[in-house]
Structure formats: C-alpha cells, structure tokens
Amino acid sequence: MRIRLAAAAALALTVTACTPSTSSPSAAPSDGGARTGTLKVWLFDEPNRAPKEAVVKDAVAEFTAAHPDTKVDVAYLAVDTRSERFKGAFNDPASAPDVVEYGNTDLPEYAAAGGLADLGPAVGAWPEGADLSPDAKASATYQGTLLGVPWYLGVRALYYRTDVFAELGLKPPTSQAELTTAARAIRARKPELFGIAVGGKYTFGALPFVWDAGGDITSINSAQSRAGLKAYTDLLKPDNCPPQQCADLTGGKTVELFASGKAGMAIIGNFNRAAVDAGAAKGKYAVVPLPGGKPGSIAPAFAGGNNLGIMKNSQRPALAADFLTLLASKKYQSKMYAAMGNLPTLKAARAEVAGQDPFLAPFLSTIDAGTKFVPLDPGWGKIDAQAVLPTMIEKVATGKATVEAATDEAAKAISAALGK
C-alpha cells in the first residue's frame, strides 16, 4: 500500500516535471520606468579597486544631485565570475541590475540570451554619442542593434628593450620584415633571450598578423589568412622563440617573460604597463605600434574593452540611461584613465589624455589606424572556449600539422560554431 502511494506520487511528480525550468522574460516598462528609487549597477572589480571606486563615487554623487529621490547601489563583480553572474541575472530578474559593465567580447552571448536593452535611442539623444568612433560602435552592435556604449579600450603594441637594441645597434622595426630580422638578430647575439616573445596560445598576438595580411577569423583558411598565420608561426622557431619553450605561452606569460627580462620584444597591452614596470625591464623599454607588412604601416590590433549596457528587464530604463551616459561621458572617461589607465573611447577624451601622457602615443596611433574585432556571433564564445585558434597555432608551431591542414581544421570548427 505504501509502495503504491509512493509510486503514484512519483508518477505525478514525473509528469509535472517533464519540462525543464525556464524563466520567462519580463517586459520593460514602456514609459521608461520610474524616475526615482534605487538604481542597481554592476561594475567589474579590479585588483586595486580604490581609484575606480573613487571615480564612480563622484559620478554617483553628481547623478543623485541631478536626480532627486534616487539612490545608486553599485556592486563590484570579480571578472572571473561574470559568466555565472550574468546568466543568473538573466534567469532571475529579481537579482538583475539595471546598468552593467561587460566585456565587449561577451556581447553576442548576452544578446542571444536576450538580456541587453537597445541603446540606439538613448545614444542618439546623447550629445557625446556622436563622438564614439565607428569601430567602437560597431563592436557594440549586434545584428544592427546597439547594445552597449563602449566605455574603455585596451590595445596591444610592441614593447622593446631599448638597452638591448642600443647594444646591438638595432632600430625599432617599422615593418614586419624588420621585426623578424631584429628578433633573429637578438636571439643570435644573445641566445639567453628570446628575440620576441610570442606564444601558441596568444590569440590576440597572432591575429594582428592575420588581419594585416588581409585575412580574417571567418575565413581562416583563405590564402591571406594563411600567409598571416605563417608570418606569426615563423616567429615560433628556434631562431627566435623555440617551440619547446614557446608553443604553449599565453599572452600573460609573454608579459611576464618581457618584464623579467627574458625577451627583447613582446606584443603587450597598455594595461600591462604596471606589470612591466614592476619587473626587471623597468626603465629599459619603449613602445612602438606593432608594424604591418608594408613598411610604415601598423598591423590592425584587437580592440578589447568594456561596454556599459542596460539590462533588458530593468524596471528603470530611463534612469539607467541617464546614469550610463553620465558614466560614459568625456569627463568620467578621462577620470577613469587617470585612475585606471584605461583608454577612453570618446575621441575628445582620447585627445585630452594623449596630451597628458606620451606613453599612450603608440597605442592611440594603433587605435586610429583601425582596430578589428572578433566575429559578433554567439558562436564566438564556443570558438574561444574550445581554443580553436590556439590549437591551430600550436599545431603549426609544433609541426603536428601543416599550415593548410591546421587552418582547414580550424575553419571547419569555426563555421560549425558560427553556423548555429
């Protein structure tokens, strides 16, 4: 008897539980929501958060002064937890914030999950919105809809050791050929150094070579892409950076190697300045833009960065838009540069900081020369997670596959992921 009851209960439970739980998207208020109350903001935490927090506090103070009866509740998330947090916010509207800071490569994933609000009208009505560079705007647009305001950028350029160059009589390279020659010269005359530290897992170090040759991620097995890839993997040779030591280096490791004095050159970002200054290379380096194939050209860099956006299920979209445009204004972008060293996205702000710090010059020229981005497709997350591009580079570098075979394999994986 008891067993029968239990079985019946189990069956009933089974029937009701036949569909997995989902959440239902809630509608945003059409009038823009309340103009008072608490605005919830999610920003990324930093290892040294105090400067950022100070700038944000200023913005909050200015905002609440201009908007009576409002409060701004800022929470800082660890970058590493953003995936779970954002999914949690999409799935549980009660926990969701209004304004968010998010990485620009995460945009397609969030957009496909239907989590971000359309910012077209808000940015259109924003005077400073016109100052956003088209590249930056493109990286925040998904299928024609603007889903974020680029807040700051980070790009990479070529750091080189001035003392080593002086000792060997080398000049900063202005073309890829010169780069390769200089690297080989350094390694030949100083075998304890790498000419230029490059790594098999360093996607954003390799992509500029591919882009400069006219190739792209979506057509990674075209002739131009292959030429670009070969230019990069030619640096993963015993005469520069032997595969045994370099095939599995990440970008972060190349920073460490340059900072500790093991490399003559490296492709490092403006955001790594502090790390390099903390190491043995301090005071002995300078930066130039990463040269392209043609003499005097600059290889297109990857424009990584963070955007500010509004959650689709926010109940105060108008208020959120006001705070967002305040935080993304030239005034606060310049303040953020002073605090964190982040490159502003507004052209006027960039001009202002350029005047203040000559260190930025090569990075700003790199941005002005035109930056590139990863495919704006939710499938990019899969490509990144599966390490399709690093595997391709490593296979060529270690000799496990030819350039043709590796790029064909990568192309298959990429089109499979992007197709969905």
Binding site: S21, D45, P47, N48, A78, A278
Partner: protein
C-alpha cells in the same frame, strides 16, 4: 627499535617538508615584491618582504564579511552533514531492510555526477525553493549550506557506516539490558565510538564547503554581502593581468582557517578507542 623509530621520524619530517614546500612557496610569493614573483632568479627567500599583497586582499570590500560567511556555511555544513550522516549510517547498519543495498548504491551514484552539469537545474530548484522557504533561495547562505550538505552526505554516510558497523551490537544490547533507551544508546554509546570517523568526515565537509567556487558564484548573484571567501580570491584573476601576489595572499588567508579547524578536531581524530571495544 629505537633506531628504526628515529629513521622513520626523520623520514616523516622530510616528507612533511616536501609536502609543505609548495605552501611555503605560496606564502613566500605573497610577501615578495611583484618583480620577484616572476623572475629569472628565483630564490626560496626574499630580502624585501612586504605585506602589500595582504593589504590589497584585505582591502577587498567586506573581506571580513566574506570570511564570516564562509565560516558560517562551513560550520553549519559540518554539523548538519555529520548529524544526518550519523543517523543514516545507524539506519543502514543496525537494521536490515529490503532496500538497504539499493539505498547505499544510490547514495554513491549521487556523487558520480559532474557538478557543472547540474548547475542550471539546481539554479532553478533553488530559485523555486526560495519562493517557498525564504532562507533557502537564491542570494542566501542557506542555499549554499543545503547544497553542500547534500554533496558531502554520501561520502559521510559511507564512511560512518564502516565505523558504526565496526561497533559490535553486543554493546547496544548490553547497554539496553542496563536500562538505557535507544536514544541513550545512540548518544552515549554509538556517537562517541564513531568519533574518529566523524572527525574525518568533518574535515572533508569543512573543506568542501570552504573551498567551493562554483556554487558560491552560481547562487549568490546580486547580494554582495552574502558572498563567500573564494569570491575575494577571484577578484585578482584578470585574463593576461593576474595579480599574482594578491592571489597568493588570498590563498594563504583561505588556507589558514582550515588548518585551525583541523587542529581542533585532531585530538578526536587521533583518539584511539582504548579499551572500549572488546574482542
């Protein structure tokens, strides 16, 4: 005999040093200036120690709060898990019933599931549970306590089962003949005798709950004052920009309480049974 003992003592100390060396390295990296952590001349010491990294870690907003949250969750899990497991272990050894083996195996199967696969179903379960029971929903510490109790139970049950089974039933009967009720038998006879096993499972439960990264960031979404210690560690991981000194400092701060907990239960763990068990 004494020579063998001395040799074994030395061997044990050497093994201890070898085992603890990576920990020492971690603490060392936490006090080294940044340039020395990644350097071409690694030294097992530093001439310029600084507690800067610890400052950065402790400056993480509400670090003390995270610490207390972690502690609370871990201790509650230890108690709940131990209690439920003890009762279940008694049920599974002192009684014979038809589904006994099935139940045991089911408990085991529960541990085989890779947890990442369960995060979405558990997320919705906790969310719906929170609608019914306020303390157990998303953004609460209760959800973490519940989940970790569940995940440490199977092992604890299996472990304590062995210990309870090792206690001869004659002891129960002798006590009952002396007039003790079942509850007294449970508390006064069985419980103390499984103490070493309970100590082992306590340490296991504590570590599982304390070092959890996955559920802490899946269930605690917006309530930053309910976050646990691993979240403080994760702050310092930024792709291509990791703050190694702070990571090592935070790791050190995370390791110490577990060692303290271990020292507290050690005596129980080590306590032999003396003459309690007759053969």
């Amino acid at each position: 005999m004494r020579l063998t003992r001395r040799l074994l003592d030395t061997l044990a100390v050497l093994l201890a040093v070898a085992t603890v060396f990576p920990i020492y390295w971690m603490v060392l990296a936490a006090v080294k200036p940044p340039g020395e952590i990644q350097s071409l001349h690694q030294r097992p010491w530093t001439l310029a120690p600084s507690i800067d990294s610890f400052h950065r870690v402790l400056a993480v907003d509400s670090f003390g709060r995270y610490f207390l949250n972690s502690l609370l969750v871990a201790l509650v899990v230890v108690v709940l898990s131990g209690l439920c497991a003890f009762l279940a272990a008694v049920a599974l050894t002192r009684f014979r019933f038809r589904m006994r083996t099935t139940v045991l195996v089911l408990f085991l199967v529960a541990q085989m599931v890779p947890i990442e696969a369960l995060t979405i179903p558990l997320f919705f379960l906790v969310r719906d549970l929170g609608a019914q029971v306020p303390g157990l929903g998303l953004n609460t510490l209760g959800s973490l306590m519940l989940v970790h109790t569940a995940f440490t139970l199977p092992f604890a049950i299996w472990m304590l089962r062995g210990f309870v089974a090792a206690i001869p039933e004659e002891l129960d009967e002798a006590a009952q003949l002396d007039g003790a009720g079942r509850f007294t038998v449970l508390c006064r006879i069985l419980f103390p005798l499984v103490a070493p096993g309970l100590a082992a499972t306590s340490v296991f439960s504590f570590i599982t709950a304390w070092n959890d990264f996955l559920f802490a960031r899946t269930f605690i979404i917006s309530a930053t004052d309910r976050q646990t210690l691993p979240m403080a560690l994760l702050v310092f991981f930024k792709p291509d920009e990791n703050d190694w000194g702070a990571i090592m400092a935070a790791s050190t701060l995370m390791t110490v309480p577990v060692l303290i907990f271990f020292l507290l239960v050690r005596r129980r763990l080590v306590a032999g049974l003396g003459g309690a068990v007759k053969d």
